[in-house]
């Protein structure tokens, strides 16, 4: 397994995440609705609004992983997406050296497919992903990516709606 590298702007990124004042807040319907919609649209068992914190990924919404609120960052797929600064698509995790022996691949929830669209705030910082996971390998075409990005845009809007309300 290859641990996700840190982005070059990690300190600013973490500050932007903390400024959202959203970590460890209760689930909210407006985010759960988007993750449920994504799971249905792509016919996948898992869809998450994942925020990549200093040493964990914390789920603001977790469709299909309701009993899991966070996982260590160093085993997270989303950590890789945030470091790459672009949509991460893993068609088959067992065939990808970054993830082949990842505990989330060889154990629960047995992830084989992953696609994560970046939650990029308007001032440039990437705080996490809207991601979907499947327990079987699959293809993901350009239209799938555009739809995931479209749903991701709605998550970012909601993140900012909250920030505006708090500030």
């Amino acid at each position: 397994m290859i641990k996700p590298p840190l982005p070059h702007n990690e300190a600013k990124r973490l500050k932007a995440l903390r400024d959202l004042v959203i970590l460890d807040t209760p689930p909210e319907e407006r985010f759960d609705r988007i993750s449920a919609f994504a799971a249905k649209e792509f016919n996948v068992p898992i869809a998450l609004v994942s925020l990549v914190d200093h040493d964990r990924q914390w789920f603001k919404s977790s469709f299909g992983l309701e009993d899991v609120q966070e996982t260590p960052r160093d085993i997270s797929f989303c950590g890789h997406a945030v470091a790459m600064a672009k949509t991460l698509i893993v068609p088959d995790a067992l065939a990808d050296p970054r993830f082949a022996d990842n505990p989330m691949v060889v154990g629960q929830p047995y992830v084989r497919f992953y696609a994560g669209a970046l939650l990029r705030l308007p001032y440039g910082q990437v705080v996490g992903t809207l991601c979907i996971m499947d327990r079987r390998p699959r293809d993901f075409d350009k239209l799938d990516e555009a739809i995931l990005n479209g749903l991701r845009d709605l998550v970012v809007e909601e993140l900012f709606r909250r920030e505006e309300a708090v500030s």
Binding site: F37, E41, L143, N149, G150, L151, D153, L154, E157
Partner: protein, 133 residues
């Protein structure tokens, strides 16, 4: 239709569907999508703008059918024969007949996937070849 991208009005109260379809159209450079959240808002738009197509939710069923009737009667600024696609939760025989009378080209029954909506947009309002090349 002009040489530019076709302009299509989407009347859909569900912000999740509306916002995502609009975002996909922008990213893939499909139709120029105008958005309305209600029939009243959509009709106001159509009274002063010329659209090349209409993608219409039947959430407000009676108002939506009345709008379509006015469109086909030439009471709005667009051409009377523009392609129209409809999204609806369920459709009985009476509704299907009415939609045929109103020359609705495509019926999307919920729960549909956004992928189906985008394919409908691509098929009913294809890009001019000069923009595809």
């Amino acid at each position: 239709m002009s040489a530019g991208r076709p302009q299509v009005l989407l009347i859909e109260p569900d912000g999740l569907v509306r916002g995502t379809v609009a975002s996909v159209c922008r990213e893939l450079q499909l139709v120029r999508l105008q958005q309305a959240t209600s029939i009243a808002q959509g009709e106001k738009w159509m009274q002063s703008n010329v659209d090349h197509g209409l993608l219409l939710s039947l959430a407000e069923r009676d108002a939506a059918l009345a709008l379509l009737t006015r469109l086909r009667a030439g009471e709005l600024r667009c051409e009377v024969d523009i392609p129209v696609a409809v999204m609806v939760a369920s459709a009985d025989a009476e509704l299907v007949v009415r939609l045929k009378e109103l020359d609705v080209r495509r019926l999307l029954l919920q729960p549909f996937r956004l992928r189906d909506v985008v394919h409908t947009l691509e098929q009913l309002w294809p890009m001019p070849e000069i923009l595809v090349a």
